[in-house]
C-alpha cells in the first residue's frame, strides 16, 4: 500500500468514524477492507483509494469507513464489567425508577455479542427485582454488515464457543442445519439494533440509564473521542452511568468523563459530577 493510500484511508476513517490509524496498523486496514476489495474486484487498497477519489460516493465512503472499525469481540467479554452493571448499576437505577422500566445502550457492539450477553444475563435473574423489570437494550454500531450479523443473532462454530458456556448455548440458541447457531425467538425481542455513528447526534435513540461503550473510545483520535463522549453523555439520564472497557486508556478524554464516586467502574460526565458535588 502506498503512503498516499494509507493517508487517504486513515483520513477517511478519522472523518467518518473518529477512528485513529497509525502507519504500523496498515495491516489491519488491509485485513478489514479485504472483503470490499474482493467484492469490487479491486487489486488492492491503492485501487480502492483511487476509486474513492475518482468517483466520490458518500454511501461507499461510509461503508469503507465502517469496515475499518474493529469488530473483534466475543460473548461475555470483560465479565467483571457486565456483573457490575447487573449487580449494582441497574439495581441502583431500578430503585430510582417509578415505572420499573430501564434502558441500556450498548454502543459500538460490532457483531452484537455484548448485547446478547447482557440479555442472556438478565434472563437468568427471574427471581430478582431486576429480572422482573422491563429492561430495554438498544445496541448500535456504525457498520451495517456487522449490525446485520448482530441482528440475525446467528453465529458460527467458533463464535459460540468463545465466552459462551455450553449450558447458555443450549438454553438460548438453536442449532441450524448449516451448523450455525441462532438466538432463540424469546431472546430476540429483548434487544433492538440500530445504526449509529458516535460522531453524529443520537437523540433519536432517546435517553438511557446505563450506557456501555467498551473499547471504542480508546481507538479514536482524542478530539473525536471527546465528540463521541458528548454524544454518549447527551443520551445519559441524570444519575445514569457510562461503562467503558476495563483496560481502556481514556486519558485523552478524562477532562470530559470522570470515575463515578458512587459506582465502581462507572464513569459520569464531569459537569454532572461537579454539580452534584456542589449541591451536596
Amino acid at each position: 500500500m502506498q503512503d498516499t493510500t494509507f493517508n487517504e484511508l486513515a483520513d477517511l476513517a478519522l472523518r467518518r468514524t473518529g477512528q485513529a490509524f497509525e502507519r504500523s496498523k496498515a495491516y489491519l486496514m488491509e485485513a478489514r477492507l479485504a472483503t470490499i476489495c474482493r467484492r469490487e474486484s479491486f487489486a488492492g487498497l491503492d485501487d480502492l483509494a483511487h476509486c474513492l477519489k475518482q468517483r466520490p460516493n458518500p454511501r461507499f465512503e461510509q461503508e469503507v469507513a465502517a469496515a475499518l472499525t474493529g469488530k473483534a469481540t466475543h460473548f461475555f467479554k470483560e465479565r467483571d464489567t457486565l456483573e457490575q452493571v447487573i449487580a449494582h448499576a441497574l439495581p441502583a437505577r431500578l430503585k430510582q425508577s417509578t415505572n420499573g422500566r430501564l434502558r441500556v445502550w450498548c454502543a459500538g457492539v460490532a457483531t452484537g455479542q455484548e448485547a446478547w450477553s447482557l440479555a442472556i444475563r438478565l434472563s437468568e435473574l427471574a427471581d430478582q427485582p431486576l429480572g422482573k423489570a422491563h429492561v430495554e437494550i438498544v445496541a448500535t454500531d456504525v457498520s451495517l454488515p456487522a449490525l446485520q450479523i448482530a441482528q440475525s443473532g446467528t453465529y458460527g462454530h467458533y463464535a459460540v464457543q468463545t465466552g459462551l458456556s455450553i449450558t447458555r448455548l443450549m438454553t438460548h440458541f438453536d442449532r441450524q442445519d448449516t451448523g450455525d447457531w441462532i438466538i432463540k425467538p424469546d431472546m430476540r425481542e429483548t434487544v433492538s439494533f440500530k445504526r449509529q455513528n458516535l460522531m453524529e447526534n443520537a437523540n433519536m435513540l432517546g435517553q438511557f440509564d446505563v450506557i456501555l461503550c467498551r473499547n471504542v473510545l480508546s481507538k479514536m483520535a482524542p478530539v473525536m473521542a471527546k465528540q463521541a463522549v458528548e454524544t454518549l453523555a447527551g443520551q445519559l439520564l441524570p444519575g445514569g452511568f457510562i461503562f467503558l472497557g476495563q483496560e481502556e486508556d481514556i486519558h485523552p478524554i478524562q477532562p470530559t468523563l470522570k470515575p463515578s464516586r458512587d459506582m465502581r467502574g462507572a464513569w459520569v460526565p464531569v459537569e454532572r459530577d461537579e454539580s452534584a458535588e456542589a449541591a451536596a
Binding site: 462454530h157 468463545t162 455450553i166
Partner: protein, 121 residues
C-alpha cells in the same frame, strides 16, 4: 501444577490438544480410548479430562459414566471434545456428568474459554 488427561484415539488430536493445555499451565497425560483412560484415573485422578466421544474399546460417554461411579471420580472437570455437534449428544453428555462441551474443530481460544467456564484457569 494441574494435570489434564487427554482422551482421544487420534494421536494428532492428542498432540495438538496437549500443546494447548500445556500453554495453560497443565501437565499432560494421554489415553487412546476410554478403557485406558479409566485405568489411568484409577492410578492417578487428573484435575481435568478432555474427552473424545467415538473411540474403540470404550467410548467417551461410557467412560464418563464409569468415571463418575469411581471413588473420587466426581472430582475431575470433564470437557467433551468431539465431532458430535448436535443437541441430542450435547444433552446426553451433560446429563451423564460432563462439565463442558467442545465441538470440533477447536483452537486454543475455545479450549481456554471452556477451561475458564469451568474454573480450571
Amino acid at each position: 501444577m494441574k494435570n489434564c488427561l487427554i482422551v482421544d484415539d487420534s494421536r494428532v488430536v492428542r498432540t495438538v490438544a496437549g500443546r494447548i493445555v500445556q500453554d495453560l499451565n497443565f501437565t499432560v497425560s494421554e489415553a487412546g480410548d476410554g478403557a485406558q483412560a479409566l485405568q489411568h484415573c484409577r492410578e492417578a485422578m487428573p484435575d481435568a479430562i478432555l474427552l473424545d466421544w467415538n473411540m474403540p474399546v470404550m467410548n467417551g460417554i461410557d467412560f464418563l459414566r464409569a468415571l463418575r461411579r469411581e471413588t473420587g471420580g466426581d472430582k475431575p472437570v470433564v470437557v467433551f471434545c468431539t465431532n458430535e455437534n448436535d443437541a441430542e449428544h450435547i444433552t446426553e453428555a451433560m446429563r451423564s456428568g460432563a462439565n463442558e462441551y467442545i465441538m470440533k474443530p477447536f483452537d486454543a481460544d475455545i479450549v481456554y474459554s471452556k477451561f475458564l467456564e469451568t474454573g480450571l484457569v
